[in-house]
Amino acid sequence: MTTTGTVEVVIDQSEVVRRLGYKGREPSSSSASLIRACIEKTSQLIHPAYIYELRMVERTTEQEAFLEGSLCFSSRIVSYVLSRCERAALFVATIGGALDEEMSRLLEKGQLLEATLLDAAGTEAVAQTLFRLRENINRLAIAEGCRATVQFSPGYCDWDLSQQKVLFQAVDGKALGIRLTDACWMMPRKSVSGVIGIGHLGPGTPPPCLAVCTKRESCHHKRVGWDPEKQPLL
């Protein structure tokens, strides 16, 4: 089953500031007003949208998860997550390509500061889009007496980026104007992809990171402030 949707996102200035690396400090007043102006501009250039495909989880092994439609994801983490789920939502989300075009234009003119601020605002916008998508999927899951997991994406943890190809077999990225390059990079740039599990998950389900991850030292979840070892899967 394919679902597409658009969302309205509000870009939170404090999040953009955090993404620019301020680590809790305040930007100078001139930086702050430039950041505000760039958020304003970004808001006018984005078209947040998503598409997802619901598939049954057929079987899992320690290394692999097999889904309806002859899909096979190779990742211990994804497999661990999906072994506890009946279904999975395979998704891509994007804010569209207009921001990329504006950034290229600015870089050509040498306006690196403004391009950098638009870049951070765009990242926050796509992160919000993903957040809203997950909320929608969780609502759907709850209506059926289930819960949705957090999202897992090819290229993170032990899920190799080349697995984007498998994901794109199932999800029609083109419907949102998303193309996958040979290096498995999505165009437009501000796009995300991944899987969200749906199942009868109890709040105590241990996070996969604790159970099966072998890359805890370089955990990106931790770097962005979500400590998977302390929080359950939900």
């Binding site: 620019l20 930086s31 870049d119 080349s162």
Partner: protein, 211 residues
């Protein structure tokens, strides 16, 4: 009377009008343009780099300072003529490897390298090994800098280094690598000479590579 310290402050606070005024005043007072660059603009940017390292300034402020410094340079460059090369500390050819179209990280590092006294030749994104080799032959840089954002494209860095060896150019240029998935141990494993996780440290590392 305008002073170098004031000019440095103008760079640190990224006050474009003030920097341009001070540069003109210092020139009018008979100061050497090369001194204005070294003791005013570059010295100001060096303080900015320090402040970024200690967490007092962040990328947007640093980029604003670098931009203002470039504005000051625009006034001074035509007056320096062919003595300009004497203020450059080294030359860098910079590109993002084949298959990778990531640009902004490379641009940020380039800007910091330039503000620290390097000449940077940006040869773009999605650059095949052969084009890096051509650029090294043509430009004869001190440093070849490679950027990549993805685990699927960082293997191209090794190919570039191998292509340098095949072309007998490996000992003529230092290779510096960086980008989100690159680590010091990856850099070591492919035989790169330097790595840095961010732009300020990239400038520091590039300077070390010149010694």
């Amino acid at each position: 009377m305008a002073s170098y310290e004031e000019l440095q402050q103008g760079v640190i606070t990224a006050d474009e009008g003030k920097v341009e005024d001070l540069v003109r005043q210092l020139l009018a007072a008979g100061n050497n343009p090369l001194d204005i660059i070294a003791r005013g603009l570059t010295a100001g940017m060096a303080i900015v780099g320090q402040k970024m390292k200690t967490g007092e300034m962040f990328i947007p402020e640093v980029l604003a300072s670098a931009h203002v410094m470039a504005k000051g340079m625009d006034i001074l460059k035509p007056l320096v003529g062919d003595k300009l090369s004497s203020i450059y500390i080294g030359k860098v050819v910079f590109g993002t490897v084949q298959g990778d179209i990531h640009n902004i990280g490379k641009k940020i590092v380039s800007m910091l390298l330039e503000s620290g006294g390097f000449v940077v030749i940006d040869i773009g994104v999605d650059v095949p090994a052969a084009k890096f080799i051509e650029a090294v032959k043509r430009e004869q840089p001190d440093i070849l800098a490679l950027s990549a954002l993805l685990t699927t494209t960082i293997p191209r860095m090794k190919e570039v280094i191998q292509a340098l060896s095949s072309a007998n150019l490996r000992d003529r240029v230092r290779v510096m690598v960086g980008g989100a998935p690159v680590t010091q141990s990856f850099a070591d494993s492919i035989g790169a000479d330097g790595y840095a996780p961010d732009a300020v440290l990239a400038l520091e590392r590039a300077k070390q590579l010149l010694d």
